[in-house]
């Protein structure tokens, strides 16, 4: 097989999809509420950017994400560590933690709306909740997973506690914790989009939901693409951060 077939196929297939899409719309096989052309989507993209609509929605969404995610992930980290390091904390809060973990975060949306209203607090809380559990679980599991022998070795050499933490605990647990944080970020973005679609008063989700109600397929498609690109970019960004933080591992 020719080595460049890979390149041809992996670039060609998305391209072909676009061409078929454009062709289908060019022949007007479907009304514009059902299918708009790629060029119309690009035009809509230009429209929401020039009116500043996209930037406004996006900055609302991302601010929200930043607030909710940092709150949830840091609380999750602290809670997970406490759960792993203290037998008492584990006995008292472990069962509740394990039980609440089973409930999909989305299921809490109606309750939180009733208790907190649909303001910013609700959205921050629901995102924080989405971010909390993966980090807490990763922190708990990875600290619990540090082999006893590591601690034995360090006590053999009479290492003081700060050495224990900086030289053993952190290097041994950080890769898994970061993986948990990355999962948290993806989850947060998913829940954020869902919450904005449900409440629909601001943010990218609202832009999409309004587009749907006004039969503006082009706007909806812009929303879908932006949601995907942002999700991808966040994950990639974090992946780079992760690789940077873990570069000692491969060295």
């Amino acid at each position: 097989m020719k080595p460049d077939l890979k390149l041809i196929l992996s670039v060609g297939s998305p391209l072909l999809l676009l061409i078929v899409w454009q062709a289908v719309t060019a022949f007007k096989l479907f009304p514009p509420e059902v299918l708009v052309s790629p060029t119309a989507v690009i035009a809509a993209f230009g429209e929401v950017i020039t009116t500043g609509e996209l930037q406004r929605h996006l900055s609302e969404s991302l601010t929200r994400l930043a607030g909710g995610f940092t709150t949830g992930a840091s609380l999750g980290l602290l809670f997970g560590l406490a759960l792993a390091l203290s037998k008492t904390v584990e006995r008292v809060f472990g069962p509740t933690f394990q039980a609440l973990r089973q409930v999909p975060v989305l299921a809490f949306i109606p309750m939180l709306i009733l208790l907190l209203g649909i303001d910013e607090v609700f959205k921050i809380v629901i995102i924080a909740k989405a971010a909390f559990f993966p980090v807490a679980l990763a922190a708990y599991d990875s600290v619990k997973g540090v082999p006893k022998s590591y601690f034995e070795v360090s006590s053999l050499y009479r290492a003081p506690w700060w050495v224990l933490i900086s030289k053993i605990l952190i290097p041994a647990t950080i890769p898994n914790i970061l993986a948990g944080v990355r999962l948290s970020l993806t989850r947060s973005w998913l829940v954020l989009v869902a919450a904005e679609l449900i409440v629909a008063d601001s943010g990218l989700g609202q832009m999409m939901e309004m587009g749907r109600q006004m039969f503006r397929l082009d706007i909806v498609m812009v929303g879908v693409i932006v949601a995907g690109v942002i999700g991808f970019a966040l994950d990639r960004l974090f992946q780079l951060l992760q690789a940077h933080a873990l570069r000692w591992k491969t060295a």
């Binding site: 297939s13 998305p14 809060f93 989305l106 109606p110 998913l190 749907r212 397929l217 991808f232």
Partner: protein
């Protein structure tokens, strides 16, 4: 049994400590609800929640919603998982298909699953079909990935054996690649099962016409009926718990020969 082997700790009611937070929380909650005051509108007493549970059972409302949510999740799993497995097989067995399909798969996968809903809603309305498509899509992604990875990871040394005994392409797939990939395929299906339940609740919350636990919660929220919302959360959570338990058990069972593979 001697006294030494008897583990006294097992009989100590340490696990009771785990009940402290939920019990305290419920007491506080009930107190707030009964006391009334600033939050009286939102808080409902435990008695009210219990009553709602009984009423919803009696009218058959709960059973209907629960049944339709479960049905949606399972049919989504079946459809999405089935198509996903086929696509994963095609990608795992043929390099050209892998090259052509992965960029499309990977770009579609970036969109948060519920973000598709407005688009699917425009195309197929806000009824059951749209919901089913999203739920099936949530099962599709992990099954494609794990089927594909499972087939890719079949070792060349095992395929050499197939060549030595001159097995045909089909024989090699059916007798060697498929069983070798099966643990991974099951892992994907288990993940799909968990995802379908989450996405079922999500789509029902967003398109809250029709039956389903999510729809019921959303409608109750509009009527400020926290008692109903709480009963629904309880059932969503219990089902999530049951699914995770089932997955744990099944994986131990299904994946058992993975450890002895080497």
């Amino acid at each position: 049994m001697t006294l030494k082997t008897l583990n006294l700790n097992a009989f100590k009611p340490v696990w009771l400590m785990g009940l402290i937070p939920p019990v305290l929380f419920l007491l506080w909650w009930d107190h707030e609800a009964v006391k009334g005051g600033a939050n009286a509108l939102a808080f409902v007493s435990l008695a009210q929640v219990g009553q709602a549970l009984i009423d919803m059972f009696a009218t058959g409302e709960l059973g209907l919603s629960y049944g339709s949510s479960l049905g949606r999740a399972l049919s989504g799993l079946l459809i999405g998982g089935g198509i996903g497995t086929l696509v994963g097989i095609a990608m795992g067995l043929s390099k050209p298909i892998e090259w052509a399909a992965s960029p499309i798969y990977n770009s579609f996968r970036q969109v948060p699953i519920l973000g598709w809903l407005p688009l699917i809603g425009l195309w197929f309305g806000s009824g059951d079909l749209s919901k089913l498509i999203i739920v099936a899509l949530s099962a599709f992604y992990p099954t494609v990935l794990y089927t594909f990875e499972g087939l890719k990871q079949v070792e060349a040394r095992l395929l050499d054996v197939a060549r030595v005994y001159r097995l045909s392409g089909w024989q090699t797939f059916w007798r060697i690649q498929w069983p070798a990939a099966l643990p991974s395929i099951f892992t994907g299906l288990f993940q799909a099962l968990a995802f379908t339940w989450i996405s079922t609740i999500g789509v029902e919350l967003l398109f809250s016409s029709g039956a389903g636990l999510g729809a019921m919660m959303q409608q109750a929220q509009l009527q400020a009926r926290l008692d109903i919302v709480l009963v629904c959360i309880l059932f969503v959570g219990l089902t999530g718990f049951a699914i995770n338990f089932l997955i744990k058990r099944l994986s131990q069972h299904v994946l058992s020969w993975r450890s002895i593979r080497a």
